[in-house]
């Protein structure tokens, strides 16, 4: 018994020491040499992928959380490679790494969306501006063509008005001319000759024989002539005085000139421009009838007003 106890006393410390060494060795060396569980391998892979990807820039906080999570799992593996805790912590670390990666992708998508929305706004603004300008240009063109149309219409209307007016004027003038000629015909003889329209006033109506003062009735007649020619716009006229062959040629010429001047003075007194009137006294040089008879001589005593003389 004593020898047995002695042996026990000798061997027990050795056994204990060996046991302790094995245990310690197992817990230290065994840990580092043990294969990591699948969960830890997955966690490491996921973390490395997240770290090397966009998460570093776009989800740094999540990546840090994943890192802390993996560190805990690694620590648990160091402490107890086979434990369920190691697997569980690795499992969670794997999810945290995934989360970092997904959050980075979300951030990336959100940034892309924001940029697209900005692009859309810019494009829409420029499109709206383009449409506004096109509308403005169209409006301007429309206004321009409308203005052109209005101007054209106005011009056409005015031309028509002017034409009607001209027609009316022409008709009026014609009417006036006819009226004037009619009234003149009552007091004078009117003929159209090569030298122009000739209004012949009988000397007997205008003057007392041998005188060049106009008779009162003659003034009325001349006033009518002036009025009729006024309506024609005061055309240039030549007043010619004629006598019969009684008396000296010189006297006759002088008298005929004086009579022509008297007629001119009367017309000018009615507003006829003097510059448009020329006078000439022909004496007996241009008889229109035979001076042999009293009737012929009476016809030769005359004053002729040539309108628009040629």
């Amino acid at each position: 018994m004593s020898s047995r106890e002695t042996n026990m006393q000798k061997t027990l410390p050795l056994i204990l020491a060996s046991f302790f060494i094995v245990l310690t060795g197992c817990s230290l060396a065994g840990c580092s040499s043990a294969l990591p569980p699948k969960e830890l391998i997955d966690a490491r892979t996921a973390y490395d992928r997240a770290k090397d990807g966009i998460a570093k820039e776009l989800a740094p906080a999540d990546l840090d959380t994943a890192k802390q999570s993996l560190r805990k799992a690694e620590q648990a593996f160091q402490d107890d490679p086979e434990s369920q805790k190691t697997k569980d912590l690795s499992y969670v670390a794997h999810r945290k790494a995934l989360l970092a990666e997904i959050d980075a992708q979300i951030e990336e998508a959100d940034r892309k969306r924001a940029q697209l929305e900005k692009d859309y706004q810019t494009l829409r603004d420029s499109e709206l501006e383009r449409q506004r300008l096109a509308l403005e240009n169209g409006k301007a063109a429309l206004n321009k063509s409308q203005a052109e149309l209005d101007a054209e219409k106005k011009a056409r209307e005015e031309a028509e008005k002017a034409r009607l007016l001209a027609e009316k004027d022409k008709a009026d003038l014609e009417k006036q001319l006819q009226a004037a000629l009619k009234s003149l015909k009552e007091i004078a003889e009117i003929s159209e000759e090569k030298r122009g329209v000739v209004i012949t006033l009988s000397g007997g109506v205008l003057f007392i024989t041998g005188k060049f003062d106009l008779l009162p009735i003659a003034k009325d007649k001349l006033n009518q002539v002036a009025a009729a020619l006024k309506d024609q716009g005061y055309p240039p006229i030549r007043i010619e005085g004629h006598t019969d062959n009684v008396g000296s040629a010189e006297d006759n010429k002088k008298l005929s000139q004086q009579r022509a001047d008297s007629v001119k003075d009367q017309l000018v007194s009615q507003g006829y421009p003097a510059s448009k009137i020329t006078t000439v006294g022909w004496g007996a040089e241009h008889p229109v009838a035979d001076n042999g008879s009293p009737e012929g001589r009476a016809n030769n005593r005359r004053v002729e007003i040539i309108v628009n003389p040629k």
């Binding site: 027990l12 410390p13 204990l16 046991f19 302790f20 245990l23 817990s27 369920q84 805790k85 569980d88 912590l89 499992y91 969670v92 999810r95 945290k96 995934l98 989360l99 997904i102 959050d103 992708q105 979300i106 998508a109 959100d110 892309k112 969306r113 697209l116 929305e117 692009d119 859309y120 494009l123 829409r124 499109e127 383009r130």
Partner: protein
Amino acid sequence: MRTTLAALCLMLGLVGVGCSEGIPPIDQLAQTQGAIRAAEEAGAEKEPQGQLHIKLAHEQLDRAKAEMDRDNNDQASRLLSRSSADAEVARAYARKQTSLIAVDEAQKQVDKVKAPAGK
């Protein structure tokens, strides 16, 4: 001799599996359930990867509840951590899907504005 045996027992006790269980992780359970609900509300089940992680989250939640019933609270807590991590991942997948759809819509809007200008 007795001292030596006591030391051995103590050592074995230290090295052996820890049997002490903490308090039931009631708060953690509620948080995990909340995380799963949030993922589901975000539409995680409509997206294949989200669906997978929601499934894992549910399975682990159920297992955690079972462990709590057996008073294995530490294990239950770790299962809840796993479940919660899966719920978070599922929710992230749902959010990613939403973001990608928004990108698509924005791209379509841009293309639509560009189209008439290009003609």
